[in-house]
């Protein structure tokens, strides 16, 4: 197997694992976003989910830099994810800025260093529940193989969110969505608490919590709660490597 195939195999095994044992949806979505950057030719990735009020919300990101998170958030006004959500179709822009598409979003993306963008829909039957958002520094687009891979990763995320339960999909989806999104808010609050206490940046704060969660086999959201409650501090989480 070549490098990418190994990466992909590892990814799918990891993802399948989360479905079997105790399931941490926040960790799953984060892994998914990170894997996109590792297995296809993109420089940043984010998973956006639509909440029950139609707002696109970040559920997972390949990096926790505020600037990147904002690039996802502003697409509630305009951008590839909004178009993708509305049409249910993949949206590609090979040359941001030059094309004149989404003027405000494009300006911010280019200022952040990205010159190409794609949005792959996450679909459940007739519903578009979110989008996989990919950014590239180099202009251009993913080739067909890479596109298929991204579609597959997006599909796995959708399936993972639904799980197998004997209740209606609408109910489960609402509950899982809300859990993922409210967990994200808790994690953002904890990032702030930890960043202030430990005098580290938001990225580093996230990595400290994530490292602890994986090491102790706990959910990210639980670790975040621990940080907020004052039970987990620098002593327990360690320092950035």
């Amino acid at each position: 197997m070549n490098g990418r195939e190994e990466q992909l195999s590892r990814t799918f095994v990891e993802l399948a694992d989360t479905l079997v044992r105790d399931f941490d949806v926040v960790e799953l979505l984060h892994v998914l976003a990170m894997r996109c950057v590792e297995v296809v030719d993109v420089d940043a990735a984010g998973l956006l989910l639509v909440d029950r009020r139609g707002t696109l919300r970040v559920a997972g990101s390949s990096a926790e830099r505020v600037r990147l998170l904002e690039l996802f958030e502003v697409q509630n006004e305009e951008g590839p994810c909004l178009d993708c959500f509305r049409t249910g179709e993949r949206v590609v822009e090979e040359r941001l800025g030059a094309s004149g598409r989404w003027p405000r979003f494009a300006a911010e993306a280019v200022a952040a260093g990205f010159n190409a963008v794609e949005a792959v829909p996450m679909r459940l039957r007739d519903e578009v529940i979110g989008a996989l958002n990919l950014f590239r520094v180099e202009p251009g687009r993913l080739d067909d193989t890479e596109s298929s891979i991204c579609r597959a990763l997006a599909d796995v995320a959708t399936i993972a969110l639904i799980q197998a339960r004997s209740v209606t999909e609408a109910q489960v989806l609402t509950e899982q969505l809300h859990m993922a999104l409210n967990s994200r808010v808790t994690i953002e609050q904890a990032k702030g608490v930890l960043a202030e206490r430990a005098h580290v940046g938001m990225d580093a704060a996230f990595e400290l919590m994530r490292r602890f969660a994986r090491h102790h086999n706990r959910r990210l959201a639980d670790v975040a709660q621990g940080v907020i409650a004052g039970q987990l501090g620098v002593g327990e989480l360690g320092r950035p490597t």
Binding site: R184, G192, I228
Partner: protein
Amino acid sequence: MEVERNARLVAAIDEGRSDRPFHARLCDRAVEGLGVSGAALILMSDGETGAVAAASGAGITTIEDLQFAIGEGPCLEAYRTGVPVLEPDLQAAGASRWPMFAAAAVEAGAEAVFALPMAVGAIRCGVLYLYRNRPGMLSAEQLADGLALADIGTTILLDLHSTAVAAIVGDTVDGVWHHRAVVHQATGMASVQLECSLAEALARLRALAYSSERSMYDVAVDVVAGLVRFEP
């Protein structure tokens, strides 16, 4: 879009009975607009007990009381998990979810129950609790409205000491900040700087936004950048 939905709901609540306070009218709005038989705004702080801040519709307090007396039920679950708890058919599915609560609730007239958490991440205020006297799931639109009402309820509860409801309402409508990561990060930072709870930190952030006539988002950006610090 979220802003329009919130604006529409707040306008409808404003037009409610003037003899009732805002949060009571919010419950009235839930009953009128969501096709439910009763609604209650329940304050919770420890996950064990709840206080009804406002209610609308028949029998709601009985059914809600049951949960806290029994120690199980949709409100407790929603509060603890921070996740909406939706049960459209208590008779069919309730027994496996909440054995004691389901039986008592059905007898009291609740066939469907929906508990929408009032929370901002780790800030847990309570639950907006809805019930129906016939089984049936909320429609997508009703659910969206219900969640928006829970959000509005959260905003109100976090600002109980605030004088102007209009100001709170204005923030809810204009400042759609719930999905901006930087606001939640700033809340965390401020809570450490002020040595207070996240809820208080959020209120302080909001107060600073009002007094300086800036959006919550802009203030939050400054806090995270270290340009604004809070002193206890």
